[in-house]
């Protein structure tokens, strides 16, 4: 840009600039607009392209085509109940605006709504897109719109208007950042204002657990939630995100307790230490569970924690949820468990697994102490040489524990947890299955953790001496099948390169999460959190102020660079480093002194300086000898480089 000739102009008519602005803001909307309306826009473009004169008849027919396209685009949804959907309503507004703008554009006259239409279309497009890519696109839109305005004001001067737009944009940044962070917010969530939300479907943890072929695990890299801890990440063996609790063994699957047994019960902690505060972004699951770290201590707003510390919300989660929660990583609870729940956690059909029952009874008789009994059960499982695999042979579901422990001896978390829970019940220890997610530290950066669908997990809880204890049942596997490593198909080829890619991907996810947290989902809650943190933590406040100061400094530097007068004279620009070097030696070019006279003055004092003589010759030839070629400039640059090196040594 530095050497762009300042006379580089482009022809700019206000109509052309408006066309450019409209095209820019329409691009994302093309993903929303239905085909009939797209065809209508194509028709308008064709008319404009062929410079069709806008007669009354043309305008009438175009308006008619617009109404028809509008009708066909909204056909099916075009009723009052359909219009209660916010996005459909906005879509209708966009169509009306497109028709109005098209008709006005055909007349080739600029009026008020033609001028504001780019901003209106941009604002309407933001009803549909809230992603990071849209954030970047919005920044581009703002810059380009600013540039188009300046281009118009600066008579089509491309390089200077670009420079000015960049200057303007950069100097706006501190204001934008400060206003964004501190402008008072009220809304916590996207308000519907009587409009229904648009449904988003997503598969995930569903609260039941299948042991049959349905249980075939399909590893998925799909992200379920993102977690950001206020402090350091907990240890790997503490990253259990609690989902649903399963008590009832139906042979081929497990179910939760009937609702009548769990309702109106409150969670009771006997002790809760090592509290961990964290923020979660949970993607739509169409279920009511919130996944909190074991053991939930404080529920997010609007959610409830029941006596089993299962966290739910009243409505299905069909939009992205952002919530803060607190969990206790060292806890004790269970004494308040109701007898009905204990009874449900002890229920067993002894006839279905005779071999296991016999074994469990032996252990029960040998170890009257419940803790020792649990340890013995774990040892027994370890001794069975069980293999962890994601592609196990089907179990005999009529004798699932016997089949798992003595015949197939393989399975994954579901089979381990279900078998161990039933085995514990056979040994007289109340037990239940917990399903949820187990975080993998490999998917973490700093205090940020990604939970993917493949992290779905099941484990057991045993009621020992009046306290529920978590048991990681897959730890009993003595062998891990190769497919454990292929939980994701990519893991097979965990070469150095793919690990690096994975790490890069993780960092990108982290950056994405931070942008979403601090920009896209920034809210009153987050604002209050920021201010509270600043109030409580002087270190944070200091860091924050330093960041603002750094931003200001960066902006000032950018402004200084952009404000620097551009070189309109290429050869003089090439000479600048030499003039600066000679100035350091005390040789200043005087007013009215020609370059030749100046260089001769220097050569009088330093006649041995051949580079300067050569520079003088080249300068004269470029300037006055008609040799203004790139090759001549390159030679001049090289001579100047040599001369400045020499003057630096001197």
């Amino acid at each position: 840009m530095r050497f762009l000739p300042i006379s580089r102009f482009i022809e700019t008519s206000p109509l052309r600039l408006l066309d450019g602005a409209c095209l820019l803001v329409m691009l994302p909307l093309l993903l929303v607009i239905k085909v009939p309306m797209l065809l209508y826009m194509l028709l308008v473009f064709s008319l404009l392209f062929f410079r069709k004169r806008a007669t009354g008849l043309t305008l009438f027919l175009t308006a008619l085509a617009g109404v028809l396209a509008l009708f066909l685009s909204l056909y099916g949804a075009f009723n009052f109940s359909g219009l209660s959907r916010l996005k459909l309503f906005v879509e209708l507004l966009i169509y009306l605006l497109v028709i109005a703008v098209s008709l006005q554009r055909l007349t080739r006259e600029i009026n008020f709504y033609l001028i504001i239409s780019p901003i209106l279309l941009m604002a309407l497009s933001l009803f549909f897109f809230h992603s990071i890519s849209m954030l970047l696109y919005v920044l581009v839109e703002i810059f380009v719109l600013l540039w188009l305005i300046l281009l118009h004001r600066m008579d089509g001067h491309v390089s200077q208007s670009l420079r000015m737009a960049a200057l303007y944009f950069v100097s706006s940044l501190p204001w934008v950042v400060l206003l964004f962070l501190f402008f008072p917010r009220i809304s916590f969530e996207h308000a519907a204002y009587g409009f229904r939300g648009d449904e988003v479907r997503r598969m995930g943890h569903d609260g039941t657990m299948y042991l049959d072929s349905k249980a075939l695990l399909v590893p998925s890299e799909r992200i379920v939630m993102e977690v950001s801890f206020a402090q350091r990440l907990p240890a790997a063996d503490q990253l259990y995100f609690r989902g649903s609790l399963l008590y009832v063994d139906r042979g081929d699957h497990w179910e939760p307790l009937p609702r009548r047994l769990t309702q109106n019960s409150k969670p009771v902690f006997e002790s809760a230490e090592q509290l961990s505060i964290y923020n979660i972004t949970l993607y739509p699951t169409q279920k009511r569970w919130l996944y909190l770290l074991d053991l939930p201590y404080e529920a997010p707003k609007g959610a409830t924690i029941d006596a089993d510390f299962m966290t739910t919300v009243p409505e299905k989660i069909d939009t992205v949820q952002h919530y803060e929660a607190t969990s206790s990583l060292r806890y004790r609870y269970g004494r308040a468990t109701s007898p009905a729940v204990v009874e449900a956690a002890s229920r067993i059909d002894v006839r279905r697994n005779p071999r296991s029952y016999a074994l469990a009874q032996q252990i029960a008789q040998r170890y009257p102490d419940m803790q020792q009994r649990a340890d013995a059960m774990a040892e027994r499982f370890r001794a069975q040489a069980l293999r962890y695999t994601l592609q196990p042979k089907p179990l005999d579901l009529h004798h699932s524990v016997d089949s798992f422990l003595f015949d197939k001896r393989e399975g994954y978390c579901v089979h381990f947890a279900a078998s161990f829970v039933l085995f514990a019940r056979m040994a007289g220890v109340p037990a239940r299955v917990i399903t949820g997610y187990k975080g993998d530290l490999a998917n973490s950066v700093k205090n940020y953790l990604i939970i993917k669908e493949k992290d779905a997990h099941a484990w057991a809880e045993l009621l020992i001496d009046g306290a529920w204890q978590r048991v990681e049942t897959t730890a009993f596997a003595s062998k891990v099948s190769a497919d454990r490593g292929t939980q994701s198909s990519q893991d097979d080829a965990d070469t150095q390169g793919s690990l690096l890619l994975k790490k890069i991907n993780l960092y990108l996810m982290y950056i994405k999460y931070e942008i979403e947290t601090w920009i896209l989902h920034y809210s009153h809650f987050r604002q209050m959190q920021l201010l509270e943190e600043a109030r409580k933590n002087p270190g944070f406040l200091l860091k924050f102020l330093l960041a603002i100061v750094l931003l200001l400094l960066l902006v000032i530097v950018a402004i200084r660079v952009l404000r620097r007068p551009s070189c309109s004279d290429r050869v003089l620009c090439t000479m600048r480093p030499l003039l600066a070097a000679l100035r350091k030696q005390g040789y200043e070019r005087e007013d009215g002194e020609t370059m030749h006279a100046f260089l001769c003055r220097y050569l009088d004092d330093f006649p041995q300086c051949r580079e300067i003589a050569e520079i003088d010759r080249l300068y004269e030839r470029i300037r006055y000898g008609g040799e203004d070629t790139t090759g001549a400039h390159l030679r001049l640059q090289e001579e100047i480089r040599l001369a400045t090196i020499r003057s630096g040594r001197a």
């Binding site: 300042i6 008020f112 001028i115 504001i116 901003i119 941009m122 604002a123 933001l126 009803f127 897109f129 809230h130 849209m134 954030l135 919005v138 920044l139 703002i142 600013l146 305005i149 300046l150 004001r153 600066m154 008579d155 001067h157 200077q160 000015m164 303007y168 100097s171 706006s172 940044l173 204001w175 934008v176 206003l179 964004f180 402008f183 917010r185 009220i186 809304s187 916590f188 969530e189 996207h190 308000a191 204002y193 920009i519 896209l520 989902h521 920034y522 809210s523 000032i556 404000r563 007068p565 309109s568």
Partner: protein
């Protein structure tokens, strides 16, 4: 940085700022975006809102820096006549290191557009003017104006040395040639010569004084105008029926005399104007201000 703020403060004092109708548009957009952002908590809309606010706010600074350091003064004017388009020139210089864009020089209803002034550049800006009447022409409200950068604010920089010139009477009436012919006739008949001189043999036959030839002493007639170069003398009262017509006529003759390098004199009611003593412009100015 300090000089930047000093410049800004200084220019802030010099430049008047007036909101345009586009500032109303910005307010409406800010309000609409605010509603959308606030009601739906759309952070991207907040971003646009804040960018719009920041750029609208920044327009003040950029606009001030664009126009604030410019220096303009009235330089000279062409000869202006009532009802005829003429031009006056302003000297416009940009002592700053930055370009100035989209400047318009307003003088009353006359406007000259200056798309760009480079750093340290001085331009002569031509403003087309069509005066309505003769006499002194003074514009006290010549200004430099700019809508740069966003058209939301009109920046107005008054020009201290404003237009102050004279509009001469509209040249009209009979051409000088006609006047001279008429004057020649009015000098008298063939017999109204001033005297006789000896015939040298080179004179025109029309100048031969035939009675002297008849007496045997060839002589030629000597006329007053042939004794020295003729200098027309325009009489104010003889130039027309009304003052305006007389002034227009005199103005025309003065301009024609200037064109052919003819010295002249004008007999005004209380003054004698002579072209060889006073300059043409001074004579025209006298006529203009009469």
């Amino acid at each position: 940085m300090r000089s930047f703020f000093r410049t800004l403060v200084q220019t802030r004092r010099r430049v008047r700022q007036r909101a345009t109708r586009y500032s109303l548009l910005v307010v409406i957009l800010l309000f609409g975006l605010f509603l959308e952002a606030y009601m739906h908590n759309f952070n991207l809309v907040y971003l646009i809102l804040f960018f719009l606010f920041a750029t609208a706010f920044g327009a003040g600074v950029f606009g001030l820096l664009n126009i604030g350091e410019l220096q303009a003064s009235f330089d000279h004017a062409q000869r202006l006549y009532p009802g005829r388009e003429g031009a006056c020139y302003f000297r416009l210089s940009n002592p700053a290191q930055r370009f100035s864009w989209a400047i318009r020089l307003h003088c009353d209803e006359e406007v000259a557009a200056i798309p760009m002034i480079s750093p340290f550049e001085t331009q002569l800006v031509r403003v087309a003017i069509t005066p309505s009447k003769r006499g002194r022409l003074q514009y006290e409200s010549c200004t430099l104006q700019s809508l740069f950068p966003l058209s939301t604010v009109r920046f107005v920089l008054p020009i201290e040395q404003c237009l102050d010139t004279v509009v001469y009477p509209l040249p009209a009436g009979e051409p000088l040639q006609v006047f001279l012919q008429r004057q020649r006739v009015s000098f008298g008949e063939e017999s109204d010569f001033d005297g006789l001189a000896a015939y040298s043999g080179a004179e025109s036959l029309s100048r031969i004084h035939w009675p002297s030839v008849a007496k045997g002493e060839p002589a030629v007639k000597v006329f007053e105008q042939t004794g020295r170069r003729q200098k027309p003398v325009f009489d104010f009262y003889g130039a027309g029926r009304s003052d305006e017509a007389r002034l227009s006529q005199l103005c025309l003759w003065v301009l024609e005399c200037e064109q052919c390098g003819q010295p002249f004199a004008i007999v005004m009611p209380h003054k004698m104007l002579q072209s060889d003593r006073e300059g043409i412009d001074a004579i025209l100015t006298y006529l203009a201000l009469y």
